[in-house]
């Protein structure tokens, strides 16, 4: 598996470490239903079989967080953007 790092170009996945699902957003701790939403945020996952947007950290490269779109059925990577520019 090779990840196209926006800074470094296509690099082996060995250079990266994996965090997980990049579609989660941290809830507002002041919200009235914050307890429920934090439970969902910390523990529940869509875990799709197919396209998955996920965080990888280019530890042995540019040391940037990268948002990668990868297919969990084939491991094919559709693209990668820097976390700071990812929406």
């Amino acid at each position: 598996m090779r990840i196209p790092c926006p800074y470094c170009g296509e690099r082996d996945a060995h250079e990266f470490s994996y965090l997980g699902d990049a579609t989660l957003t941290r809830p507002d701790p002041a919200a009235p239903d914050a307890e429920q939403r934090f439970h969902d945020y910390v523990y529940l996952r869509d875990n799709p079989a197919g396209a998955h947007r996920e965080w990888w950290y280019h530890a042995n490269g540019c040391r940037q967080w990268v948002k990668v779109e990868r297919n969990t059925l084939t491991h094919a990577i559709a693209g990668a953007t820097l976390a700071r520019s990812a929406s």
Partner: protein, 416 residues
């Protein structure tokens, strides 16, 4: 047909013509008392114990492919009960006890071999952690022995004791641990369940659930709808995909774990040995191949195959432990999809939808749990209350904070 030496003798003298299929190839009936989705070890064990322990014989096991084609046929066959936490240890010990009587109970040779599981430690801190785990086992009435370096050397003289980075200081030994033949476990449970009247329906994919109001009352399958009063899901690896059809979102990620078998060798490792400074475990099959594995790849995957960095990591672990395997060639390697739960422990509980029961989240430790998983899941389905050794495996523990995090790494499935 009962398997016995007399039957072997009789068939030997009559040209092996008297054997019958070990289970019927059942077609789905319109309705059952209980449907188990998933014909792996856990699902078949559940069906068997529903029939043998709870008198519920009108049961179907519905399997998408052939039975044992998932993780039941892809693991490294290790059985053990050397856990630390009180939520886990009594459950795995109950499993160990069931393993010990399994072949007699099922009348099937599952090749259960209590050859000992030895976890090596390589530092003072690790020795202390292992001593603690060994003591926790003993508090639960489970055998454990903390060996020093000489004790390990007497068992396995060929390990690399003076490795510059990871010298072996000793190990935690569970002599009752060992291995079993994974396929035979599946076949044995299938045959025994079938003898109790359970329908084993292969090549039948569950494509959805039948609802009546809030309640789930059956499954939609590739071979038509099948109704049941209760439905149990034992599809670890695909739990998210199947549960999504019932509208559930679960604390599970699917990850790929690789396993390896070397070319066949004369006997060289007579137990199970694990390397404590990395993640590497090895045993030798009766056919002679070394069976080993290491970490999961560490990213979400449903692909049943992994990548080279973990292959390299596993090989490095093996070389650090026992350099004599360096010139061996691999015969096969493969991947299986793990239900990685958020605390590294399984879930055996009622689903939030009435009529549906969950058996999931086995991470990469499901094989050893097969008998107790089936036992507890059958108990839960039959009586609607958890079995006493499985009370900790609740789905709501992530909400209440009663996590069972054996490794203590938090809600990060790829680190468990």
């Amino acid at each position: 047909m009962r398997y016995s030496w007399l039957n072997i003798l009789k068939n030997g003298l009559t040209g092996q013509t008297g054997w019958t299929p070990a289970w019927r190839d059942a077609a789905p009936k319109p309705a059952y008392d209980v449907i188990i989705v998933g014909g792996g070890g856990h699902g078949l064990a559940t069906a068997y114990y529903l029939a043998s322990q709870h008198g519920i014989h009108n049961v179907a096991v519905i399997e998408k492919g052939y039975i044992g084609s998932g993780n039941a046929g892809r693991n490294t066959t290790i059985i053990r009960s050397n856990y630390l936490l009180p939520g886990n240890e009594p459950f795995y010990e109950w499993s160990m006890k069931l393993w010990e009587g399994l072949e007699q109970e099922l009348n099937y040779n599952a090749m259960v071999s209590q050859r000992g599981v030895l976890n090596l430690y390589h530092s003072d801190a690790q020795r202390d952690a292992y001593a603690r785990r060994g003591n926790a086992m003993r508090l639960n009435g489970v055998d454990s022995e903390l060996l020093d370096r000489d004790g390990v050397r007497a068992m396995y003289p060929f390990l690399d004791y003076d490795n510059a980075r990871f010298p072996i200081q000793g190990g935690l030994l569970q002599r009752r641990g060992g291995t079993a033949r994974h396929d035979a476990v599946v076949w044995g449970y299938a045959r025994a369940a079938d003898a109790h009247g359970v329908d084993i329906i292969q090549n039948c994919e569950v494509t959805g659930f039948l609802h009546e109001g809030e309640r789930i009352v059956g499954v939609e399958t590739s071979r038509g709808p099948v109704r049941a009063k209760k439905i149990g899901m034992a599809v670890a690896g695909s739990t998210t995909r199947v549960a999504a059809k019932a509208g559930l979102r679960l604390p599970i990620e699917s990850h790929v774990l690789q396993a390896f078998v070397s070319e066949g060798l004369k006997p060289m490792i007579d137990g199970v040995v694990t390397f404590g400074a990395g993640h590497f475990y090895i045993s030798q099959s009766d056919k002679g191949g070394l069976v080993f594995g290491g970490d999961i790849d560490g990213y979400n995957s449903y692909a049943q195959r992994g990548n080279l960095p973990v292959v390299e990591d596993v090989a490095e672990g093996g070389m650090a432990l026992m350099p004599r395997i360096g010139r061996l060639r691999l015969l096969r390697m493969w991947g299986g999809i793990m239900d990685m739960s958020m605390d590294g422990s399984p879930i055996i509980d009622r689903a939030p939808v009435p009529g549906l029961y969950l058996n999931a989240g086995w991470c990469y430790g499901g094989f050893k749990a097969t008998p107790a998983s089936g036992w507890c899941f059958a108990h839960l389905i039959a009586r609607d209350e958890p079995h006493k050794v499985g009370t900790a495996f609740r789905l709501d523990r992530f909400r209440t904070g009663h996590l069972i995090d054996e490794k203590g790494v938090g809600a990060q499935p790829n680190l468990h």
